[in-house]
């Protein structure tokens, strides 16, 4: 009977939409918030089984015509949907419960969704409310602190740039460790920065095999699923939302503490003096005078020609007391410049505006948005702009076909600093390391700037600066005259068509779907170096144009079958086929020789320097399947299997099998648990499976190739570039996950997980004797293990009408161990070692034995090795070469524990406050920047203020050796810094205008907010960025930014 009724309802739906039932009555009532008692405005009231629905008014009241035995469905975003039988009543007041947990109920997973409590794997959902709080232009920067098991770098401060992410430790040594990004169900190849964070409904991080094995070849490093906002649910009002965030940025990490002019000059003098005494054997009594002479005229010409860079108002010979090395007390500075400050913008503005419309009817739902972002960088001349638009549509014209389309268009444009590392054009290198005595502009004897004919200050190109201080160069000037610009135009589309998804009838539960997703990106990069000075002065300017385009598409055909048998056996089966094609085209051209400045395009230049192009293709074909079964919503089982073939491997070996099994037992549903009323939910989960990684270096890694890029004076030339390995295959990850979830006293949620992730057939640059002509070739040889424990505790600390306070604490551990390498159990690389039984990328350094109180020399623990390879007892020496040969493992970057603490408060129903803090305990960093400030290669470099405690006289006990010229100190464990940190990532304070005020102007909601992002970081060393990368290094990179913004959010 019930079935017939349903069928009838369905038929009526199709044939006679809008026909009313005969025995209808008028039902009225008020919908209120179950916690606050406040009316819920625009809540949806729908007659079950029909399309009939109304919305509550501004007082929460509704009136609906419905059959007396009907059922009403009350729903609203952020509230639990409630069904109430009318039972002949004409007045029906309903309190609906706000439930943050409600949104988690459905998890977006590979090829579908599941109910959270039925999930057998490990996944973490990041909801839009959390993501939206962060003032980020690239959503990867919002992930930190919101999920356990995820390590995130700070990312560059260049506007629009993202963070790097690894999930559950390093998955590989030489292959990629980057997770797979999936947008609206299909792997995404576009730029993450092309996705407007405001369009994101949620992000799901899939961490284990049960969750990710269906992404087979590409899932081994975890999957980040991004789901964009869809249209409104049936019956809801059309909503228009406008959001704007406007703010200013500043450095998030301070500069290192540096010696000022006085300290710098005095230290330099001491270094020169010591050099005279130690290296040249000069009598100490005259060494001071000789040092001053050397500083003036020696090969490193510290003060330039005729002391032009002596910042003081005394000649050097009068300035420094040769005996004490101190600057006379009455000396004053003629000028004082800070290069880093000069290139740092004060209060660069970031503006972000978004407008979105959502709506829907019975047959179609839609969501459309447009966004504009303009972010200026804290480095002058850098910025990022994004214009984005999105339209998501879902339609169901009739019962057996449903389709949808989501499209995204974005154009991003960024001006950036192209130079990196220790190149002079990189101002984060050259300005930071510029000794404090050098002026930016040409100055006269009084220290005033020398003006040109037009009254402008003139840049000092420093022909006479000391080495390391940009001789014949001025990086501040090139910042203005050179241009580096990238414009990315991205279009992404996702479509699906579902057939035969009958809710009733003999083939109910069967669904046939076809999906297609395509990502297209066109990138135009223009690098221009000016004709006047700097890198291209010799050739009258240079211009490079790079044009690349990428098209990737995924086609999938899926059949699902979902049935409940005998009320208790729930079955859900999926089988499918998929193919993926990635195509990348690169083209570039460059010319030099511009007749004058102000011309940037190639046509204006005279000489072709170079031109080139190439294409890359990469394809995958896959067969996939999954079975989900549960018994009585108590015992859940899931299994998946996927077979992938990748073009990256040779024909005979390119197919790989990936699978997973998982179980979930809802303990709290058992009858013997009914007595524990305080236990709202408890379940234990376990899963195991194998995932793959084919991102093993290049698109053609198995092939032996000759690289044609070696023409000899116009004759074609090629060299051997790679070795064939037909056996090269997938790297595999075996994942074991055991989890426990519980909710107690309806207040505290707890989730604990333990995992073991073992990488096998690990693809490695198998080290070869360099003398074979190759340092390595790709081979599946190694294995590695990551284990960790992850805990999230979230609780409602206060829940009453005027104050709701929830707090969430996350903590993760990760332990890495390299299990097996090649025939040699260790590979050293610079200051790092990869060794069996040790953590990947452990620091491999000599050990410091402190500073010799007698001589001031840096001492090291060393040993000797005799001709039979037998090591001597360890002893202490100052011999650098011996130290270089006596290295041991002295730690690694991996933290012992890391995570976050977040607090969300709602006060008087008007104010909301959230505070997010992150922390990391343990691990070490080899801070190359700091090392360079302690022991610079060049005389013209700035110096760490810690050098002021350098050893001076016998008996001094200090950690800083005697001042000397040039790099005299072997990098050792003294250069390792504790990597622990604590940050205040975000504080957001919001104020929602009272609803009653809103009624009068017909607005649903207005919220004003103040956001401070990346506010503070507490570390062991001022200036160091402990989140620069995962291996514990640092570089001269665009420093991360902090921002303070005001936001406005209006919904009509």
């Amino acid at each position: 009977m019930k079935k017939i009724k349903l069928l009838l309802t369905g038929l009526l739906l199709v044939l006679a939409c809008g026909f009313a039932y005969a025995q209808n009555i008028q039902v009225t009532g008020t919908v209120t918030d179950g916690t606050t008692g406040e009316p819920v405005v625009y809540a949806s009231v729908q007659l079950k089984g029909t399309s009939v629905g109304v919305a509550t008014d501004l007082n929460g009241n509704y009136t609906i015509s419905a059959p007396a035995d009907g059922i009403l469905i009350f729903s609203f975003i952020g509230y639990t949907t409630q069904e109430v039988a009318i039972n002949q009543r004409s007045k029906l007041n309903v309190a609906i419960a706000p439930d943050a947990v409600a949104l988690e109920d459905v998890l977006v997973i590979a090829y579908g969704t599941v109910k959270k409590e039925s999930f057998t794997g490990s996944a973490e959902v990041l909801k839009s409310e959390k993501l939206e709080k962060r003032t980020v232009s690239n959503v990867t920067k919002a992930i930190e602190g919101l999920a356990t098991g995820v390590l995130v770098t700070s990312g560059s401060g260049q506007p629009g740039e993202g963070s790097s992410i690894i999930i559950r430790g390093y998955g590989s040594i030489n292959a990629s460790t980057t997770p797979l990004y999936v947008v609206d169900g299909i792997p995404y190849n576009g730029n993450i920065s092309a996705i407007n964070p405001n369009d994101i409904e949620s992000m799901t991080i899939l961490k284990d095999a049960s969750a990710g094995a269906l992404y087979g070849a590409r899932g081994a490093n975890g999957v980040i699923m991004i789901t964009t906002k869809r249209g409104a649910a049936q019956g809801e009002k059309i909503k228009v939302n406008f959001r704007s965030v406007v703010g200013v940025a500043s450095r998030a990490i301070p500069s290192y503490d540096l010696l000022d002019e006085r300290g710098w000059v005095e230290y330099q003098f001491q270094a020169f003096k010591n050099e005279e005494i130690i290296t040249n054997g000069t009598n100490p009594s005259v060494a001071g005078a000789k040092a001053i002479q050397q500083m003036l005229t020696g090969p490193s010409k510290v003060f330039g020609l005729n002391e032009q860079y002596n910042p003081y108002n005394y000649k050097l010979s009068e300035l420094i007391d040769p005996a004490t090395g101190k600057i006379r007390s009455d000396a004053s500075l003629r000028y004082s410049d800070n290069w880093m400050d000069e290139v740092t913008a004060s209060n660069p503005v970031r503006q972000d505006y978004n407008l979105s419309v959502t709506g829907g009817s019975e047959k179609a739902k839609y969501m459309a948005s447009i966004g504009y972002l303009n972010e200026e960088g804290i480095l002058k001349t850098t910025n990022f702009k994004r214009y984005s638009g999105r339209a998501n549509v879902d339609a169901q014209p009739n019962e057996w076909v449903k389709f949808g389309l989501s499209t995204n268009f974005a154009q991003t444009s960024s001006n950036f600093l192209s130079a990196d590392g220790s190149s002079t054009s990189n101002v984060f290198y050259s300005c930071m390391l510029m000794a404090p005595i050098y002026p930016i502009y040409i100055i006269d004897d009084n220290g005033d700037p020398v003006l040109d004919a037009t009254g402008e200050k003139q840049f000092d190109y420093g022909n006479n600066r000391a080495s390391g201080a940009q001789q014949n160069y001025n990086s501040v000037a090139t910042l203005y005259e050179d241009h580096f610009n990238i414009i990315n135009t991205s279009v992404s589309a996702r479509t699906y068509i579902d057939f035969l998804d009958f809710k009733t009838g003999p083939i109910r539960g069967l669904k046939i779907s076809a999906t297609m997703g395509a990502d297209y990106r066109n990138q135009d990069q223009h690098d221009y170096e000016n004709p006047y000075f700097g890198n291209a002065a010799g050739s009258a300017g240079r211009s490079y144009k790079y044009s690349t385009n990428m098209l990737s598409y995924t086609l999938a055909q899926l059949v699902t079958y979902k049935r409940t048998i005998a009320d208790k056996h729930n079955l859900d089966v999926l089988v499918g086929h998929e193919n993926y094609h990635y195509k990348y085209n690169y083209m570039m051209g460059a010319k030099s020789g511009f007749p004058f400045g102000g011309l940037y395009q190639l046509d204006a230049a005279a000489t072709v320097i170079t031109a080139g192009s190439y294409e890359n293709n990469y394809t995958i074909e896959s067969y996939l399947s999954r079975l989900n079964y549960n018994f009585d919503d108590k015992y859940y089982f899931s299994g998946s299997f996927r077979r992938d073939g990748s073009s990256r491997f040779a024909r005979d070996i390119r197919w790989g099998d990936f699978w997973s099994v998982g179980g979930n037992w809802r303990l709290s549903e058992e009858s013997f648990m009914k007595g524990f009323s305080w236990l709202n939910n408890a379940n234990v989960r376990a899963s195991f499976g194998v995932q793959g990684n084919d991102n093993v270096g290049g698109y053609y890694p198995w092939q032996a190739l000759y690289d044609l890029g070696f023409p000899n004076a116009g004759m074609n030339g090629a060299v051997v570039a790679s070795i064939e390995n037909k056996d090269l295959k997938w790297e595999k990850n075996e994942n074991l996950n055991i989890g426990l979830d519980a909710r107690i006293f309806n207040r505290i949620s707890l989730s604990a997980e333990w995992y073991k992730r073992e990488t096998k057939d690990m693809l490695m640059d198998y080290p070869l004797a360099m003398s074979t002509g190759f340092t390595a070739y790709d081979k599946n040889i190694g294995s590695m293990k990551n284990t960790g424990f992850e805990l999230t505790i979230a609780g409602d600390i206060v829940t009453n009408k005027d104050l709701r306070w929830t707090m969430s604490i996350m903590g993760s551990t990760v332990k890495n161990e390299v299990l097996n390498l090649a025939d040699k159990p260790e590979i050293t690389s610079g200051n790092y070692i990869i060794k069996e039984g040790e953590v990947l990328n452990s620091f491999y350094l000599p050990r410091s034995a402190g500073v010799d109180p007698a001589t001031g020399y840096q001492l090291y623990w060393v040993w000797d090795t005799d001709s039979d390879g037998v090591r001597s007892e360890e002893y202490i020496t100052s011999d650098k070469a011996k130290a270089a040969a006596s290295r041991v493992i002295v730690g690694n970057r991996m933290p012992d524990l890391y995570g976050s603490i977040s607090n969300d408060l709602k006060i008087l129903n008007m104010f909301d406050l959230s505070i997010l803090c992150t922390y990391s305990i343990g691990g070490k960093i080899l801070d190359g920047l700091y090392s360079n400030l302690l022991d610079p290669i060049y005389q013209g470099n700035s110096l760490s203020s810690h050098l002021s405690r350098a050893w001076e006289a016998p008996g001094d006990i200090t950690d800083i050796p005697i001042a000397q010229l040039g790099t005299n100190i072997q990098t050792s464990d003294r250069n390792l810094i504790n990597a622990s940190y604590f940050t205040i990532k975000n504080i957001t304070l919001g104020y929602s205008l009272p609803k009653k005020w809103m009624k009068s102007i017909g607005v649903e909601n207005i919220r004003i907010s103040a956001v401070a992002d990346n506010i503070a970081m507490f570390t062991y060393l001022n200036g160091m960025n402990p989140q620069y990368n995962f291996s514990g290094g640092t570089d001269y990179a665009y420093t991360p930014t902090r921002s303070i913004s005001l936001g406005l959010d209006i919904t009509f």
């Binding site: 290296t279 020609l305 035969l500 046939i512 053609y700 000759y706 004797a769 610079g830 390879g869 011996k882």
Partner: protein
């Protein structure tokens, strides 16, 4: 229902039928080795790739993984060997490139992939491997027999040249040290690392390769195969390499014969060509070199020979801000002062400049020998071998063989285009095959004179350190009036110093199961 069936059919058609080769993908900028060695013309592509590598700047594939700007192939290695001696001065540290070679501060950096020893080892073994790939295909290359011989002969010479240079940097000189460890030897492509063997093994292979190479190239030459470009190794270049090797091995007869044969057909540089900047392989005495054409030049010149060497020979060069402008390369003051005023080569360097400037050409003893050919496109050729070197090898060999008259005749031949006072000069040198082991000592014998002429004529290009090691002498930069910026007071520069031998890079030991760092490393 019909509609449903149609739609489902459509959906199944969408089921992307993958063609058979869907998963077969190959790159567009590389080719397989099989294709390269199909015939003599395509095999020349592989040889040209090697030749390009010999003068390719900033290459990580043929150099270091960082500090790439101090790598530009053969010429840069000659410069390193000169910097490690006493005749070549790097007056300023500049950006630091090469200064660490000059101040003997690279040996402790053997574990780094950014420093000199990695770059040297990597470069020559990459060349050897590429040559071995050519040689492994010698039986399958289709084409004219003489052309095949020409190709194989070149590959053998390249291999020999590479092993020779490795031996010069990574071990003491050959004579007297034959039983010391050599360098790993490979005669075919392999993935298995070889042990060090002995220095004798190394020279046995070098001499065998050169014998076969010269035979094949002679046969090719006699069959009418002529080289199309001076970057290629022909019979004369192979003989020149052989002459250098024989000189090191103290095979005086062989050296004299090879050197004399090698320079046939070349004319010594003279007149204005002496001052044209040593930047053109078309110069009459250039036997072998790399030609830099505009479209293959490095933008900005960074990391190239002339960027490092040109001290600012024109305002455009100064404006282009090459490294040499701020880190000037000079001749040792003592050596400069020994050059007679009549010698045309004295103008290859500044004399004493009254008012020096801290950058650019106003610097005492700064070099003017090397200049950009064209600064606007940063071109300038690399000269690997000149006929003058052959003349000096022959002269030394003759002197060693006590054929003093022959030696004198050769010096006079050089004198014609260098120093009109040569005749008077050598008249005061005694006939003896001994030499003054004090490198700043008086020139007494005819051999002293020849060695002196080598230091002047081949300044920068032949690697002074190699002569220091070969002659088993030491040197001293710390003398009255020195213009050296690093006096090496804390390092031993005495004859046979361990400082003269570079350690083998860490990475070799990491991947070579037949070498152990504890026992096979050179003395640190």
């Amino acid at each position: 229902m019909k509609k449903i069936i149609i739609l489902v059919t459509v959906a199944l058609l969408v089921f992307s039928s993958c063609e058979k080769d869907y998963l077969e993908r190959t790159p567009t900028d590389s080719v397989s080795g099989q294709l390269i060695f199909s015939n003599t013309e395509s095999a020349m592509v592989a040889l040209n790739g090697i030749y390009r590598a010999l003068y390719l700047p900033n290459s990580t594939w043929f150099g270091t993984l960082a500090n790439t700007q101090q790598n530009f192939g053969i010429a840069c290695h000659n410069m390193v060997a000169d910097l490690m001696g006493e005749d070549f001065v790097q007056a300023e540290q500049g950006n630091g490139w090469f200064y660490f070679d000059y101040k003997y501060d690279v040996r402790s950096r053997y574990a780094s992939t950014a420093w000199r020893v990695y770059g040297l080892w990597n470069f020559y073994y990459k060349i050897i491997t590429n040559a071995n790939y050519v040689l492994a295909s010698r039986d399958v290359i289709e084409g004219d027999e003489a052309q095949v011989k020409y190709i194989v002969g070149q590959a053998l010479a390249l291999r020999a040249y590479s092993y020779y240079n490795l031996s010069l940097f990574f071990q003491k000189t050959y004579v007297g040290n034959e039983s010391l460890p050599g360098v790993p030897l490979y005669t075919e492509p392999t993935l298995i690392g070889a042990p060090r063997g002995t220095l004798k093994d190394v020279y046995d292979l070098i001499t065998a390769d050169l014998t076969e190479s010269t035979t094949l190239l002679k046969a090719a030459k006699d069959a009418g195969v002529t080289r199309t470009h001076k970057s290629h190794i022909d019979y004369s270049v192979a003989k020149a390499i052989q002459a250098k090797v024989f000189l090191t091995m103290e095979n005086w007869t062989g050296a004299a014969e090879a050197a004399a044969t090698a320079r046939q057909g070349y004319t010594l540089l003279s007149g204005g060509d002496l001052y044209s900047g040593f930047n053109d392989i078309a110069l009459s005495s250039v036997m072998w070199g790399g030609q830099v054409i505009a479209t293959e030049a490095v933008s900005g010149g960074w990391g190239t020979l002339f960027c490092h060497m040109d001290i600012g020979s024109s305002p455009a060069v100064i404006n282009a801000n090459g490294y040499g402008v701020n880190s000037r390369k000079c001749i040792d003051a003592w050596l400069y002062n020994q050059i007679p005023a009549t010698d045309k080569r004295k103008a290859w360097w500044n004399g004493v400049v009254a008012s020096e400037e801290s950058s650019g050409p106003n610097k005492s003893y700064a070099q003017l020998k090397y200049k950009y050919k064209n600064i606007s496109d940063y071109t300038g050729d690399y000269i690997f071998l000149r006929a003058e070197e052959m003349l000096l090898i022959e002269a030394e060999a003759k002197a060693r063989l006590t054929q003093y008259n022959a030696a004198r005749t050769l010096l006079l031949e050089l004198g014609v285009v260098r120093d009109p006072g040569m005749a008077t000069r050598i008249a005061s040198r005694s006939d003896a095959s001994t030499f003054n082991t004090d490198s700043h000592g008086a020139l007494n014998t005819i051999l002293d004179e020849i060695l002196f002429q080598r230091r002047v004529e081949l300044w920068f290009e032949a690697g002074r350190l190699f002569d220091i090691k070969r002659l088993k002498i030491g040197f001293n930069r710390d003398y009255t009036g020195t213009n050296h910026s690093q006096l090496l007071k804390t390092k031993s520069t005495a004859a046979g110093s361990k400082e003269f031998t570079l350690p083998i890079p860490q990475q070799e030991f990491d991947g070579n199961e037949n070498m152990d760092i504890e026992t096979d490393q050179n003395p640190l």
